[in-house]
Symmetry: C2
Subunit: 357 residues, 2 copies
């Protein structure tokens, strides 16, 4: 049975880094007999330029029909003046929502070869391996009512709604507990239960779900303290469970602790494990088109796809080992370069990984 | 004219650290003729224990009548089982709201003597000096509607409202621009304008206010990127302007970059500059009553009070210099101790600073 992957390169460096991931996929196909076919579609600013919308219906249809989605990145200053509803981000948020990709997995892993890239002291971050499980289709990102209005004093006013139902919290909590089970069995749930009623319910429901996972040690932390603890002693964490907004903030902080966000993949899964995979870094418009972007996060996103959605752990490991080997051989893109290593461009890094495969 | 200070020691280590700040105040009074009187009141868990409410009316009345308020810290596990409305945090939030203390100043400063306490590499943080200006009486902390309900599917649901009016944004923006003017004239406003309409208005109004401060360089950053940039290169920031929730998260992250949150004071000001002053750290119930807490953040909060609310920069500087001197002499509480320094308790640190005065 041939697996179908929808490929959405997006904007900025998106097309460049996705091209390298596709080289890797091609190699798996020709050398290891992986039965997979790909089809491309537009999203974000690229889709707006071609079709006047960041999220064309054909793109949604293709993603719905596919077994899995590989995304590059969306956004750029070019589209910032556009109306809200037309901005590249809407494409991404629409995709998350339409495909019900509620479970966002964001690993923050420090590669031993890259310890020196971190701004933190080696002893604080070496061996770092956190998995952030972020709720992705609810909370303040999608809550209604939202918008702008004129208030009773005749002033402009902007408003958004943070809202979570029991079932939304329950399903993401199950995701997180199941992942914790496969790791070090420690789950820290993040909230602001001392101030926000919505996250008080969050804590309550997470505790309820936790009863079904007595083998996982559950703890709770306020979001302000969590952002502090990530800097103070990040290795205290195994799996962190967060809502949509807090996850946006904390996962970027955690990623940056590794000093090499060009290395970090992510998965966004629906209830059946179907998913979208993308690097956690953005479209980096400042370096787009120059052939210097790091393709590893996208290549590792492909590995995550094979592991989580396509049930092919062997191919996933092959890719991960090939990345390690290329790093061991000293290949580095500009963002992770250091003395004594070989600085290469996007395509050369992709080639090195393919060679290592 | 005698200045009146309301003193609210609060919970946990609060009473211990406030006692040391009062020693310093006493010294200013007897040695330098500062005309000030103090009166104590209860807040938080201590107030709940005595009066069944975390924010007694007498406390509010005293704070209203006073020229300025010095607070220790509130909260602790003892009061966590209490109903929402009775928790220590409600006392603090009530005080902020009732006194209309909308402008929260949170400096993150690295003391040269304490560079090694940071988990970040010295070259990344040495010389760090950020001022976070956090909106403190609006946003999702106070927005309505809020609470819990049963939704149409018969499930529990929790909800909160993020809301800002033009005038709320305008006044905190003015605070931030004015502070930036007295510093390095760079202001970075934090929002999530690509997702939340409320913060889109935030950005718009900040830009409007910025027109009145052409000498201040204004920039904007999404909150997720800000949490990343704080870790990557914190020295890029001078003044950061944030809403209530983002400020809660980012200010704790920024504080922890210094490695010594026991050193950091804060001010919460109303429109006339009347204010409440408190250490940014919490009540630390785990070390309460042991005489080992660091009183410096509280002592420096007193210095901030003298500077911002009591218009006595000379006394503020005296205190700040005395703290520097005690550090130079090698005095350290446990949280900032390192090899080759003299580890002292709370009272001894207070005494060392008084002696240096
Ligand atoms: C681009 C933006 C809408 C998105 C988000 O806020 O979720 C991004 O920051 C992310 O974290 O994937
Ligand atoms: C104690 C709590 C209500 C408070 C807040 O969230 O504002 C604290 O975290 C702070 O930052 O002062």
């Amino acid at each position: 049975m041939t697996v179908k992957i929808a490929v959405l390169p997006g904007d900025g460096i998106g097309p460049e880094i996705v091209a390298e991931a596709l080289k890797v996929l091609d190699c798996l196909r020709t050398e290891f007999g992986l039965a997979v076919e790909t089809e491309h579609a537009l999203i974000g600013g690229a889709a707006y330029d071609a079709h006047g919308t960041p999220f064309p219906k054909e793109t949604l249809d293709l993603c719905r029909a596919a077994d899995s989605v590989l995304l590059g990145a969306v956004g750029g200053p070019k589209w910032e003046p556009l109306d809200y509803s037309l901005r590249p981000e809407r494409g991404l948020l629409g995709l998350r929502s339409e495909l019900a990709l509620f479970s966002n997995l964001r690993p923050a892993v420090l590669y031993p070869q890259l310890v020196s890239a971190s701004t933190l002291k080696p002893e604080v971050v070496s061996g770092l391996d956190i998995m952030i499980v972020r709720e992705l289709t609810g909370g303040i990102y999608f809550g209604k009512p939202r918008g702008r209005r004129i208030n009773d004093q005749g002033e402009r006013e902007g408003y958004n709604t943070l809202v979570y139902s029991e079932s939304e919290i329950r399903r993401i909590a199950h995701s997180a507990f199941q992942i914790a089970r496969k790791r070090n069995k420690r789950l820290c749930s993040i909230d602001k239960a001392n101030v926000l009623e919505c996250t008080e319910l969050w804590r309550e429901v997470v505790i309820e779900v936790g009863k079904e996972y007595p083998d996982v040690a559950l703890s709770h932390m306020y979001v302000d303290n969590a952002s502090m603890q990530l800097v103070r002693n990040p290795k205290q964490f195994d799996v962190m469970l967060t809502d949509n907004m807090f996850g946006d903030i904390l996962s970027d902080c955690a990623a940056m602790l590794t000093g090499s966000i060009g290395m970090l993949p992510s998965a966004s899964l629906d209830k059946d494990g179907k998913g979208m995979y993308e690097p956690i870094h953005g479209s980096a418009p400042d370096i787009a088109g120059r052939g210097i972007a790091n393709p590893i996060a996208t290549i590792l996103s492909l590995a995550m796809m094979l592991r989580y959605s396509l049930d092919d752990a062997a191919s996933a490991e092959r890719i991960e080992n090939a990345v390690q080997k290329a790093l061991d051989q000293g290949y580095r893109t500009a963002d992770i370069a250091s003395e004594g290593t070989a600085k290469v461009g996007t395509a050369a890094m992709g080639d090195a990984i393919v060679a290592a495969l």
